[in-house]
């Protein structure tokens, strides 16, 4: 087990380097960021030259990348164009997005798996059909429609919530945005659980368990569900990264100042430091989530052993 983890961690290094290099190059291809800093007019050449020097943009790209990576390893992610250190932006925004992700994942786990179990055990019944239709609707409607609709109904028409989230972004305020963010994944989790459960219901070990005379509840939770959750866990694990980085739409609608907001501003202002820094951390989140998922397999299915 320990050796497996070490091996996986070592494998992350080349993935991490490759990913950051790619992002760095892509942001650089976008053009000269200093040009956009002076409003609707040209920066005077000497100020522009000084700004370029300050942000290290006057050196060749490979040098910029090496310096940047050196700094990152020392914990310095550079400075955004508005003069704030990127680490400060991260400290502001990652906790917010992490809370949003936790809310979304909880929705997926609790609502998604519950619905999946109900439909999986009652295949073909009305409750199954109606949940299936419902998930189909959720999957086919884009997130910004769901988001704007809920915002308008709950926020303006009925006044149950505030349409925007405050700067503090506590868990309470994030329930509706979290639901919106989770909606599509939630539908997938329901369908995955349902199919997986339905498949395993006719397997030998379930038949044996029932034949042993185990109570139904125990058969479902201990034997059936535990084995059926592997694909679901894989999905949710990879979804953590996707939710954190892909929350741009939801964060814009509800004015949440999280990772999506910072990334959006970084891209619009062509701020290399912000974009590369945030994406680097997101890449790390992806890698770690992937590792955790693999380790969870062993917990769920005793047949899987890591050496």
């Amino acid at each position: 087990m320990g050796r497996y983890v070490v091996r996986r961690l070592l494998q992350m290094i080349p993935v991490f380097l490759g990913a950051t290099l790619l992002i760095f190059l892509m942001v650089n291809v976008m053009g000269d960021p200093v040009a956009g800093l002076c409003g609707d007019r040209e920066c005077d050449p000497s100020t522009a030259a000084r700004l370029r020097k300050e942000f290290g943009l006057d050196r060749p790209v490979w040098q910029q990348y090496l310096t940047y990576m050196g700094n990152v390893l020392a914990g310095d992610f550079g400075t955004a164009f508005n003069g704030r250190p990127v680490t400060e932006l991260m400290a502001d925004s990652f906790p917010v997005t992490a809370r949003l992700t936790v809310v979304a994942i909880l929705f997926e786990l609790v609502v998604g798996i519950t619905l999946g179990v109900i439909t999986g055990l009652r295949r073909g019944r009305p409750v199954d059909t109606s949940v299936l239709v419902l998930t189909l609707v959720v999957i086919s409607v884009p997130t910004f429609v769901t988001g704007l609709l809920l915002q308008l109904l709950l926020g303006v028409k009925w006044g149950w919530i505030k349409p925007s989230v405050s700067a503090e972004a506590g868990f309470g305020e994030l329930i509706v945005p979290g639901l919106v963010l989770a909606s599509v994944s939630l539908a997938y989790v329901t369908r995955l659980t349902r199919t997986s459960l339905a498949e395993n219901r006719s397997s030998d070990y379930v038949r044996t368990a029932i034949a042993k005379g185990l109570p139904r509840r125990r058969v479902v939770t201990r034997h059936l569900l535990r084995n059926s959750l592997i694909p679901v866990v894989t999905f949710i694990g990879t979804d953590i990264g996707a939710l954190m980085g892909g929350a741009i739409v939801t964060e814009r609608i509800f004015n949440i100042h999280g990772v999506g907001y910072q990334l959006y501003q970084g891209i619009i202002r062509q701020n290399t430091q912000t974009v590369v820094g945030f994406v680097t951390v997101l890449v790390l989140v992806f890698l770690v989530a992937g590792l955790l998922v693999d380790l969870l397999y062993a917990v769920l299915d005793p047949r899987i052993r890591y050496v």
């Binding site: 976008m30 053009g31 000269d32 960021p33 200093v34 040009a35 956009g36 800093l37 002076c38 409003g39 609707d40 007019r41 040209e42 920066c43 005077d44 050449p45 000497s46 100020t47 030259a49 000084r50 700004l51 300050e54 164009f81 508005n82 003069g83 704030r84 932006l89 502001d92 915002q151 308008l152 926020g155 303006v156 006044g159 149950w160 919530i161 505030k162 349409p163 925007s164 700067a167 309470g172 305020e173 964060e251 814009r252 609608i253 509800f254 004015n255 100042h257 907001y261 959006y264 501003q265 891209i267 619009i268 202002r269 062509q270």
Partner: protein, 542 residues
Amino acid sequence: MRGARPGKWAACAVAVVLAATGCSGGGSGGGDSGAVLSSSWGDPQNPLEPANTTEVQGGKVLDMIFRGLKRYDPETGEARDMLAESIETDDSQTFTITVEDGWTFSNGEQVTARSFVDAWNYGAGLENNQRGAYFFSYIEGYDAVHPEDGGEQTARTLSGLEVTGERTFTVRLSQKFSMFPETLGYAAYAPLPRAFFDDHDAWLAKPVGNGPYRVDSYRRGSQMSLRTWEDYPGDDAARNGGVDLKVYTDNNTAYTDLLAGNLDLVDDVPAAQLRNVESDLGDRYITAPAGIIQTLAFPFYDEEWNRSGSEKVRRGLSMAINREQITDTIFRQTRTPATDWTSPVLGEAGGYKRGLCGTACEYDPEEARRLIDEGGGLPGGQIKITYNADTGSHKQWVDAVCHSINNALENDRACVGNPFGTFADFRSSISDRKMPGPFRAGWQMDYPLIQNFLQPLYYTNGSSNDGKWSNRKFDDLVDRANAETDASKATEAFQQAEEVLLAHMAAIPLWYQNGSAGYSERLSDVRLNPFSVPVYNEIKVS
């Protein structure tokens, strides 16, 4: 979830009823002078220093926490003395400025001549990386403090600035510029306290100025709380308790928040909401002319646009654009068809001349076709209008302009849009002189002077002369206007310079832009100044 804020207001309202005095301080004119309003805001692009702020979001804050030598009247845009006791000159080149006695910064420090001179030297200094440094380029010694050739700065102070007394200093310009005193209301010319220089980081974290508001707390990127400065010595003290500026990523969300009663003031109603704004807000929606003009500029570094006869093509294109229809349908009359190269906010006396462009700015497809044929046709048979697609609904109007041109010229391929993904990319292509044809050129005035609408944009090598247009006659007229000591004669000379623009159609004027705002029922006396920023200090909260 709706808890905290409304609760506080409720408590406040109860206090008003019981004590009939308002929440803090005495009530004035029906409003509760202690109540705080919330307003939408965007994250400023650059650090909040006066000479480093070139966009409206940072400018909004500077307008609240600073007062300069002059201030522009929110109604007429006229420059009035604020901190200036007098600004005197004999030759339009050397000015003696006296600062009024009794002004202090909100930290108690006196505003002296030195507060100005230090601030201006800082703003001009190359090593301070101030984006607005060019505002000081008229002052003598700018070349040494801010060399244009990329060398190091050789002086720390502008030789044209000299402190001659506790409250007086002189400014010597490198050329005659009679309207110089009128430019001094711009935020870049604000005075700065010693704290700015002594502990710069602390100042940036919580700016200190001399305006009617002081910064109470500032969470960068999310919210700034401004509170009324009780001891403000000026006569335009705030009539409310303060303003909470909240950063919104999307102004549609701000608008939704206003409808839900979660926000008091939105100062940029998104184009998509204009259709239902009347039914949503009724008379709580206001719109007022702002000093913004949209034009189409041309790449004069490209032979095709600089040959003789091309002015006929440009004139023809101008006449092929149906401005009325576009401003009606796309902008719902929040923009007005342009008939000169300035803005109505200048007023007749300030140099705005309605109809100066004449028939050249009127829709006349037949004449347009004739002129373009006479001028040798469109370069390459097709024009591409370049714009940035990331902000301000530019795509819609560019497509509409092209549609109008195509219809007028009876050619489906005469005009196409050429979008750029980001503003920075668009700007860098302009700087590299790579525009393939006409391109979007928006101009928001720095100060309400006709000079500001002409010189930066069309003077040879002007700071925003993106098309690199150059004309001896125009330059001479501008120089003459700047040297003219009589204001009306100066304006006249500027208008003659405008005639030169017309003769060459150096840029096609499209429309003047209005500012817009919507507010909640709690507010009254809301209006927009010519910079399309709400006049916060006048707003009353009930």
